[in-house]
Every structure is written in structure tokens, then in C-alpha cells.
């Protein structure tokens, strides 16, 4: 359990730290890792010293000046509720794999980063992620990690202007072999669409033949 002397730290921290680092924003940076069977998110949360009272109020729920493991877990759960992952258009539950909270002293100086690792045991071809956590005071980064697996194909991502959300198509190249250039839709999606069109055409042709035979 860590002791947080919130008022003292804020008084000392706010005074002289603004020139060096984040001040009045809560930086929320998410990196999305893709594998063949799951999606993993690294969410790094860095409160600036000026917004620290807001963030600490959300962590130190009972305002007793302490951040307990239970309060850490409760805050991580709050973040989990505030982010949303969809795979192939369907909401996918995320679970907390790991959390690391910085020392209160580090947070008071605006350089402490809360690190959360989240995972969804689902894979698909279309991913959408949105972060709605503490929107009023936050700035966001969200990016898809390049995979050590060279067969990963990722289409051009779409984001909102503030980077609260991202959507992109992805797949692994086994079925079609070649890697599309980033910035273009994943070639896998085009293959699937093509197969679907051909299957539909074949079905229609068979029905037409049956009607003619009758």
C-alpha cells in the first residue's frame, strides 16, 4: 500500500514542474497488439500535474490520502468500463492482465504513468477501439503495433480527430500470401468479398438452373 500525501505533493509538485513536462492534460496512449487469437492493449495514462487532483479523486475514492490495491483495481476497472473494443462489429469484453501504478511522488511531478495491459480473447478481421475515459481533461494517442509476425495485414486506420477511436481491417496472410501496403484496405478482405460474390453467383446460377429444369 502506498501512502499519498495528496495535498502536500500537489502543493510542492505544482509549483515548479510545469516547464519540464505534461501540465494540464491527461495523456492516454494506447498501443494495440494483434495476434492470431487475441487482441492486447497497452494503455499508458500520464496525468499532468494540473489535472492530477481530478485523476487522484477518481483513484483515491475515499479521499483518505492512501491508494490501496483495491483502489488501484477499482480504477483499472473504471478504465475498462470506459473503453470499448469491437471485433467484427460485436462488442468484445476486455480483461485486465496487468496494472502498474507509479509512486504518488512521481504522479505529483507529472511524470508518473499508470500502465494497464488489457486483453480480449477474440480475433477477427475488423477492429474498432474507443476510449471515453475522462474526456474533459484528456488527450489521446492510439496506434496499432507492427507485429513480429510478418503475415499480419493491416488496412488503413480511421480515427476521429482527437484519436479517441480507431477502426481498421486486419488479417493474417496465410490464405493469400502477399502483404498489402499499409494505407490500403487489407487484401484479405477483398479476397473474402470476392469469394462471397462467387459463391452468391454460383447459388443464383444453380437456382436458375433448377427453375428451368422444373
Amino acid at each position: 500500500m502506498r501512502r499519498v500525501l495528496v495535498s502536500v505533493l500537489l502543493a510542492t509538485g505544482l509549483a515548479g514542474q510545469s516547464a519540464a513536462h505534461r501540465l494540464d492534460e491527461y495523456l492516454q496512449a494506447t498501443l494495440i497488439g494483434l495476434t492470431r487469437d487475441h487482441v492486447e492493449l497497452e494503455v499508458n495514462l500520464t496525468p499532468g500535474v494540473a489535472v492530477l487532483p481530478v485523476v487522484l479523486a477518481a483513484i483515491d475514492r475515499n479521499s483518505d490520502g492512501w491508494i490501496s490495491p483495491e483502489e488501484e483495481r477499482a480504477y483499472a476497472d473504471q478504465v475498462l468500463r470506459d473503453v470499448a473494443l469491437q471485433v467484427d462489429g460485436r462488442p468484445v469484453p476486455l480483461r485486465l492482465v496487468e496494472s502498474r501504478f507509479p509512486s504518488p511522488q512521481a504522479m505529483s511531478e507529472g511524470l508518473g504513468t499508470i500502465r494497464l495491459r488489457l486483453r480480449a480473447d477474440r480475433a477477427g478481421r475488423d477492429l474498432r477501439f474507443e476510449n471515453r475515459h475522462m474526456r474533459a481533461v484528456s488527450v489521446y494517442l492510439v496506434n496499432c503495433l507492427a507485429s513480429p509476425d510478418p503475415s499480419l495485414l493491416v488496412g488503413k486506420p480511421e480515427r476521429d480527430e482527437a484519436q479517441r477511436s480507431i477502426r481498421f481491417a486486419y488479417s493474417f496472410a496465410d490464405a493469400y500470401g502477399t502483404r498489402p501496403e499499409p494505407g490500403w484496405p487489407a487484401r484479405g478482405s477483398l479476397w473474402l468479398a470476392g469469394i462471397g460474390i462467387l459463391a452468391g453467383a454460383r447459388l443464383a446460377w444453380q437456382r436458375t438452373n433448377r427453375r428451368q429444369a422444373q
Partner: protein, 334 residues
């Protein structure tokens, strides 16, 4: 040493280096050993680390050393001859342009110290650290680290190669005056980038300019070994002149290392230029704050104005990486 004296000494070291370019590795090893000889035993034990000390390798940041502790020897605790030996080692390791850039970043931090009044204790030239991982050698790999607030140079010497990744250069203030002369430590990184984005045609700019804001470095300190999906405009869609401008911009980072190592590095980057991307976020008028990222198979560069302490154009963070060879791991394994 006063500020003008510091710059004069710096220039002298740079000239000395320029005259000994042909024997760079031997010069570097000799200067490293001269620096180590200048130290007492206690200092030597604090400046030297095992080559495979992973914690020390990663002990760097954009933040002041009073907030994120560095290890090694602090410039402020060295005697003048020891400091001169340390700076001579750095001058031999870097190009003249790179060395001057480093000095300008340090001088900027000194300016920040004087401008911060009583709160300036976390800034200044005395708070930069030097450390050596491994034993300086012409043939065996070793590392030189030099950095502090807004600077982190991680230089791996592998035979005749010098690997500068990952390294962080930054500036606050990004423009200041010394002895009546205006200094912009990262001015070329800014001006060349704006020149490039304005040399693109409308269709190219549409691809290069991202539709979203980028608030900070994506692959800054603590993100070793990671890389993200590239976005923006691919250089294969640029003409030869635009590609040359892109490479010239990249050389502002790749050319920090000594000329021999920089030449090899630039040749590698040039060979892969068609697979290199540039992404831009923000206005395209020089003087306005804009983020950009250059990314290739062996390259990540980010340039990020910081909205901290006032005007974002006066506070810049940059990162330079080779995700395939950070800390020279690939080169050392050969």
C-alpha cells in the same frame, strides 16, 4: 566556464574531430581511455557499467535528471580537465554538426535554468551525465551514453560501426540568444520538414497529412523494441527531388554520429527510401506547431511540439530509432 567560452571550446573540439576523421574508431577509443584515465578510481567505478547492463541502457528520458535519475558521472561533479576529456570523447564520437547540436541543446537547458529563476535547479549543463558500458575497444562492442534533460544519446560502437539508436533530441527553448546570436538547436529539423511538406503536390499532401491530432511522441522513452503500422505518404510516390529532401531531413538525426558511421547509416536508409513513409499532423506553414513521423524498415523518427510551458513551437521533443537495431543489438550479434 562561461557560456561563450563553452561554445568556443566546443567549436575547438569539433575542429579537432574534423581533422581526425580518417581514424575515427581509434580516435574514439583513445579519447575514451583518456577520459577514463583522467578519473579517480571511485569515479571510474561509477562511470563504467557492464556492456549487457539492460537497466542502464534503458535509463534515459526526456525529463530532467532530478525527476528521472540517471547513472554515471554528472558533468557538474567533474573537474575541468575531466569535463574537457568527456567532451573530447563526445566530439570524437559525433560529427561536427551532431556535436554542435548537442551543445546547443545543453546551452538551451542552461537558458531554461536562468529563465526559471529559483525553480531552475533541475536544469543546466551541469546536470548531464556520461556513462560507458563495456570496455572501450576497436573490435569489441561497447556503448557511450550521454544525456540529461531533453537529450539522450545511446551510441553503440561495434567495430567500425557506430549505432546512434535509440536517441532523443529535444529543445526548450527551441530558440534563444547567446552573445547576440540566435540559436535554434532543432531549427533544421523544423525548417527542412516544412520545406518538404510544402514541396508535395496536393494529392501527395492529402496522403501525408493525417486527419487527427498527435499530442506527443508515440515511440518515446520506454517504448524500446516497438514499432507501429506506418501511415501517411510513401516515398515511392515522391519524385527524386522530394526523396532527396526527405533524406536530407533524416540526416539531421542520422548525421549526429561521426561521418563514417553516418555515411553507412544514410546508405542503408537511402537503399530503403522507397519503403519509407512520412506522416504529418498540423498546419503546413513554417512557424506553426506540427508533428511529423518518418518511418521505414529500419527507421523511426518523430518530431513532436509540446504544448507545455506555453508556445508549442518553443518546446520540441524528437526520437530517433532503428527498431531492428536499437542499442546496436543486431550489429553486435553479427
Amino acid at each position: 566556464m562561461n557560456r561563450i567560452g563553452f561554445l568556443v571550446a566546443a567549436l575547438a573540439c569539433g575542429l579537432a574531430h574534423a581533422q581526425s576523421t580518417s581514424g575515427v574508431p581509434a580516435t574514439i577509443v583513445a579519447r575514451a581511455n583518456a577520459f577514463l584515465v583522467s578519473l579517480d578510481e571511485g569515479q571510474r567505478s561509477r562511470v563504467l557499467f557492464d556492456y549487457n547492463d539492460a537497466a542502464q541502457r534503458a535509463r534515459w528520458s526526456n525529463l530532467p535528471t532530478t525527476m528521472v535519475a540517471r547513472a554515471g558521472l554528472k558533468m557538474g561533479e567533474l573537474k575541468e580537465p575531466q569535463k574537457a576529456a568527456a567532451m573530447a570523447l563526445l566530439a570524437a564520437t559525433l560529427s561536427r554538426r551532431g556535436y554542435e547540436k548537442v551543445l546547443a541543446i545543453m546551452e538551451g537547458d542552461e537558458t531554461l535554468k536562468s529563465e526559471s529563476g529559483g525553480r531552475g535547479g533541475m536544469f543546466g549543463k551541469d546536470l548531464f551525465y556520461i556513462s560507458i558500458l563495456g570496455k572501450p575497444s576497436v573490435k569489441d562492442p561497447w556503448m557511450l551514453q550521454f544525456g540529461g534533460h531533453h537529450l539522450a544519446l545511446n551510441i553503440t560502437m561495434v567495430g567500425r560501426d557506430g549505432i546512434l539508436t535509440p536517441s532523443l533530441t529535444a529543445a526548450q527553448p527551441a530558440k534563444y540568444t547567446v552573445a547576440g546570436k540566435t540559436v535554434r538547436p532543432l531549427g533544421a529539423e523544423n525548417d527542412k520538414a516544412f520545406a518538404l511538406v510544402n514541396a508535395l503536390d496536393e494529392g501527395q499532401r492529402k496522403q501525408a497529412i493525417l486527419s487527427y491530432k498527435v499530442a506527443d511522441l508515440v515511440l518515446g522513452p520506454g517504448q524500446d523494441g516497438k514499432t507501429i503500422q506506418p501511415e501517411g505518404l510513401k516515398a515511392s510516390a515522391m519524385n527524386a527531388g522530394q526523396q532527396a529532401m526527405l533524406l536530407d531531413l533524416v540526416s539531421e538525426w542520422a548525421g549526429i554520429i561521426n561521418d563514417q558511421a553516418a555515411t553507412a547509416r544514410m546508405a542503408d536508409i537511402k537503399a530503403k527510401v522507397a519503403d519509407t513513409w512520412i506522416a504529418w499532423s498540423g498546419p503546413t506553414t513554417n512557424g506553426m506547431p506540427a508533428y511529423y513521423r518518418i518511418q521505414g524498415p529500419t527507421l523511426v523518427i518523430e518530431y513532436a511540439p509540446q504544448p507545455l510551458g506555453g508556445d508549442p513551437t518553443m518546446h520540441i521533443h524528437t526520437i530517433y530509432r532503428d527498431p531492428t537495431n536499437d542499442y546496436g543489438k543486431k550489429s553486435a550479434a553479427r
